[in-house]
Amino acid sequence: MYTQALNTAETDDRGLEDAAKAAQFQARIDAEERIEPNDWTPAAYRKTLTRQISQHAHSEIVGMLPEGNWITRAPTLRRKAALLAKVQDECGHGLYLYAAAETLGTSREALVDAMLAGKAKYSSIFNYPTLTWADIGTIGWLVDGAAIMNQIPLCRCSYGPYARAMIRVCKEESFHQRQGYEIMLTLCRGSDEQKAMAQDALNRWWWPVLMMFGPPDATSQHSDTSTKWKIKRFSNDELRQKFVDATVPQAQYLGLTVPDPGMIQDADGHWRYSEIDWTEFKQVLAGNGPCNRDRLAARRKAHDEGAWVREAAAAYAAKRVQRQTAQAAE
């Protein structure tokens, strides 16, 4: 791939990750400078970012499946076109993010293989099923809403290619979020049946969406170094609280009830949610969510059944080069 030429010199230097270089690197981070692909970085910085960006890319691609489940059944032509365009955007985000990850030295193929082998993670949220049309509205409203909360700070991430990718991704996500909320608004202003559909979707998605922000701060493994390197600027719990505070009034406006009877608004105006069931979260991460197996199977099927197409494209490209070389030699 076109990233292969990057960092060849640095690879040889890895043994020399001396304190001076590391200090210089940290000073650049502290000065809010952007780190670019050819810059020296500690190996762990690359490893952390490769993991984070590729997980993000995998999430976009696997995330196409639950929403794609409704493209052929969208209730109107306008909704059908909007949903198809939205899922296509997610695919574009995936491509864009794989390209950003490749600048760190690992090819898209290797990253995808790790996901298909079940070694790399993607967001836990996509292991839940979309059962009704209201799930499409809810995903846009809550899942994309939570993603935006997470990703807006990433627009200032220290790694340039990731930060720039996030700027574009966030713009599209916020459009998706408004679209999702508009679906919910239409349902909530509709028939009793439609309102019940909307409430049911909120009931099923609320807790899994709160889990999207990751484990509570007290138990999070990666936050310390990620914070030092300005990859992460807010903690899981901070972002989760921000999201809840923003979302509760939106639910109220829709006339929907957040499925948390213990939720209270404190004196500072924050909505305090009840204990999250982290056992469920751990089960989903361990591969035992309702759709983990289906999602991975669908991606593997597409990959396996597409192998002959990719081979054909590669074979044809090689033939063309061969012919051009032969022609040039004449």
């Binding site: 794609g68 493209i71 076109a81 695919c91 990719r310 074979a315």
Partner: protein, 258 residues
């Protein structure tokens, strides 16, 4: 709960618009079935993009059909509340996706036609149809380029891709004749310079096909036998399943706003 099908007064112009709208919607729907499942991300994007173009064309043509009919129908009623016998699309576009070769050959046959057809329709005396044609022609030209490139890659790629591409051509060939057929109602529109005669495009369509197919080291079948029926609602068994999925929400929750 039973939801009644709408009735459409199929005057020649309404029927004309419905036929083209149905072609675009059904093919767009078929392509959208690939979303999330294509052989590579780039093709996921491309097939969705083509599907979006086609669904966009369908919406304009349905809206125009509804306007010309002048009753209570609209784009969604026309798409969601007609049954299989009322659909007027070509048999070609309702054929299942099959493998990637079958999808791309279907697209190639259709786009090679649509590109010529919409370019010629830009001269229609009906200004709405001429405007729809101008937009559709630009889109079809891109669809044709995309499909042609893939036919060449698959045909001249590996033994397996060659075999699959040839099998798709052989399988779908019998559905191409219908694109050039015209009935009495449409003939009247052709006389009035509202529509063009698709029969006049067949030679150029064949030239496009032959050029691409021979570069792809593939062959067009010699058989002349062609399946007909889609334009008058005699479809293959595949369309009913597609419609039951496409229309499920409107049939289950009749008369609601989404």
């Amino acid at each position: 709960m039973r939801v009644a099908n709408i009735q459409v007064s199929e005057t020649p112009l309404v029927l004309y618009a419905l036929r083209r709208a149905d072609d675009a919607l059904i093919l767009g729907h078929r392509l959208s079935e690939w979303c999330g499942h294509a052989p590579m991300l780039e093709e996921d994007m491309a097939l969705s993009n083509i599907a979006l173009d086609l669904i966009g064309q369908a919406r304009e043509l349905y809206s125009y059909a509804a306007k010309v009919e002048g009753k209570d129908n609209d784009e969604d009623k026309l798409a969601y509340l007609r049954d299989v016998r009322q659909y007027r699309n070509l048999l070609l576009v309702e054929q299942p996706n099959g493998d990637f070769a079958q999808t791309l050959v279907r697209q190639f046959f259709y786009s090679a036609f649509a590109d010529l057809y919409w370019r010629a329709m830009m001269a229609s005396r009906d200004t709405t149809l001429a405007a729809i044609a101008a937009k559709s022609e630009k889109e079809s030209a891109y669809h044709l380029r995309h499909a042609s490139e893939w036919i060449i890659r698959l045909g001249d790629g590996t033994d397996e891709s060659h075999r699959r591409a040839q099998a798709a051509i052989d399988h779908l060939w019998a559905f191409t004749g219908e694109m050039f057929a015209v009935d009495d109602g449409e003939r009247a529109l052709i006389h009035a310079a509202i529509a063009i005669d698709p029969g006049t495009l067949r030679g150029r369509w064949l030239t496009t096909l032959s050029d691409v197919v021979s570069e792809a080291t593939l062959e067009l079948p010699q058989t002349d036998w062609m399946q007909q029926g889609g334009r008058s609602g005699r479809h293959s068994e595949h369309l009913g399943h597609l419609l039951s999925e496409l229309q499920s929400m409107q049939r289950t929750f009749p008369g609601q706003t989404w």
